[in-house]
């Protein structure tokens, strides 16, 4: 046998390997660049706005009327509009979502859950513009039959559809959290003479609480950023109100209104959308961080 010359195994794949690894690394870096891009765009464009309008006036002003004279740049009416929608959505989605999660996780068998959960998740996959249409042409006429004095554009119909929209987020994530609670806790409950209700609501639910609250926070952050349903159904009247039957305007709906209108780019009126966008981004970012923290705590306990 001729002696086999040892090929240089060592360096054989190294160059290609490094090239590919670098390429893959750059793909991952795109996400970091996206975040930096968002922060940079919002800060630099808002800076142009805040050079003329003081942040104090912006964040504490009670009147929002940037497009007409006399102009006012107080963002609180937009924030209150967003919070009103979020509150209404929360009233619908949080209890219903939690109960649905208890059913999926504790009462239904594997097969029922495998059918029901995907159906429920379809609700989260339906485009938001469809919900807007549904709010405008189905929910509002229905509400008008019940309360004739309700306005055509009202916070109630938008809040209802946003609630339906975020319901699967709450149900699905809370179900995951409750199913992660170890069976031993349930057996311990039964061994002490608990009923199914006691085990589900007084053992599993509290044990999964941080996971469930995380699902609440994520769902509400979705409601805050929701755009199309509120633009179509809630109206374009920024005002400080707690009345669900009135027309209001959310932060997102305002941004859409300006970008659909003919406000010239670069004017102070136009720059308002970046200041409002920055406010929206910071609020949702804080909520997401909170949800991540809660989830981390939950995983630490059970994984």
């Amino acid at each position: 046998m001729t002696a086999v010359t040892q090929p240089s195994l060592k360096g054989r794949w190294r160059f290609g390997e490094i090239l590919i690894q670098t390429g893959l690394f750059l793909c991952a870096i795109v996400s970091v660049l996206t975040t930096l891009g968002i922060i940079w765009v919002l800060l630099s464009e808002s800076f142009i706005f805040f050079r003329e309008i003081s942040p104090l006036a912006f964040f504490t002003g009670l009147k929002w009327a940037p497009l007409f004279e006399p102009r006012h740049f107080g963002v609180l009416p937009l924030i209150s509009g967003t919070l009103l929608i979020t509150l209404g959505a929360a009233i619908i989605a949080l209890p219903l979502g939690t109960f649905a999660a208890v059913f999926l996780s504790e009462y239904s068998d594997r097969k029922t859950r495998q059918i029901l959960k995907p159906i429920l998740e379809i609700l989260a996959g339906i485009p938001t513009v469809v919900y807007g249409y549904f709010a405008l042409t189905f929910v509002t006429p229905l509400l008008q039959k019940l309360y004739p004095e309700i306005e055509v554009f009202n916070a109630a119909s938008a809040a209802i559809v946003v609630g339906i929209m975020i319901l699967p987020t709450v149900a699905s994530l809370s179900d995951d959290a409750m199913r992660a609670v170890p069976g031993s806790l349930r057996y311990a409950g039964y061994a002490l003479g608990s009923t199914k209700y006691d085990v589900s609501f007084r053992v599993v639910l509290p044990s999964a609480l941080s996971g469930i609250v995380a699902s609440f926070v994520l769902a509400l952050s979705r409601a805050i950023g929701e755009t199309m349903a509120v633009t179509l159904a809630a109206g374009a009247t920024p005002k400080l109100t707690l009345n669900f039957f009135e027309s209001i305007q959310t932060m997102t709906a305002y941004i859409v209104q300006v970008s659909l209108g003919d406000t010239p780019a670069g004017t102070i009126e136009y720059q308002t959308i970046f200041a409002v966008g920055l406010t929206l981004f910071v609020i949702t970012l804080l909520m997401n961080f909170l949800a991540q923290k809660l989830l981390a705590r939950f995983r630490e306990r059970y994984d």
Binding site: I38, L96, A100, G125, P127, I164, M287
Partner: protein, 291 residues
Amino acid sequence: MFDTRKLEKNLKRRKLVGKVSLLVCVASTLFGIVLLGVLLIDIVRDGYAYLDSQFLTSFPSRFPARAGIKSALWGSTWLIGCTALFSIPVGVGASIYLEEFAARNWFTRFIQLNIANLAAVPSIVYGMLGLVIFVRWLNLERSVISGALTMSLLILPTIIIASQEALKAIPDSIRFAALALGSSRWQMVRDHILPSAFPGMMTGVILAMSRAIGETAPLIMIGALTYVAFVPERLSDPFTALPIQIFNWASRPQHEFHNIAAAGIIVLLLLLLTMNAVAILSRNHFEREQH
């Protein structure tokens, strides 16, 4: 002494509470499902009459009877095609890096946290990013390519997270076997990990695409037009898309346009249904082939 009567009464009450709570839980679950049914029935009832071949092959019009979604359908097709082209390689690449190559250190954790946060950023914020970076800075105008790039950034976190799940589901024994036989990391990924993870990744990718096809707000931000009477032919052409056209019709006061919006919604939902069916079928197909 032990009072059995009291115990029995107590037990009865506890069982009643159990029954009531079960009822509440079932009702809550059904609430969402029933509403899904109501929503679909309402839309089909409103839009069914306008759904014909004329609707699919006409451009938008001032007259409800002549309005159609040809330009929106083509615009959406262009948009999704380009978005897939940009986002799938980058998303899958990022997930491979994070799962198969990255060291478990603070920087990887930072990227991971960053992706989780990006997934929850409101879509309208991506629209502002696209408006400033792609439309203004890179001077791409209000074109198909601006829309597709914006949409790609929007769905990238979804693709990365779904692909990572698919990669995590591959047992380590496959990795060890490949490495033990002398393959390099990339050979291991290319020849063993990717083929096994493919069905899972595909499902995630199609779900991300169906999110992109229904997104409206970012396209409004970058200035996709609401009235387009032509089909885009180049990446640099202006365009409209299905959800934009639906939004435009739904926001008009006339009742006829609401029905046309419903017809557009039916087309959009059928498109979504087809994509999801393809995702499920192809996953089943590939999974059968492997086992």
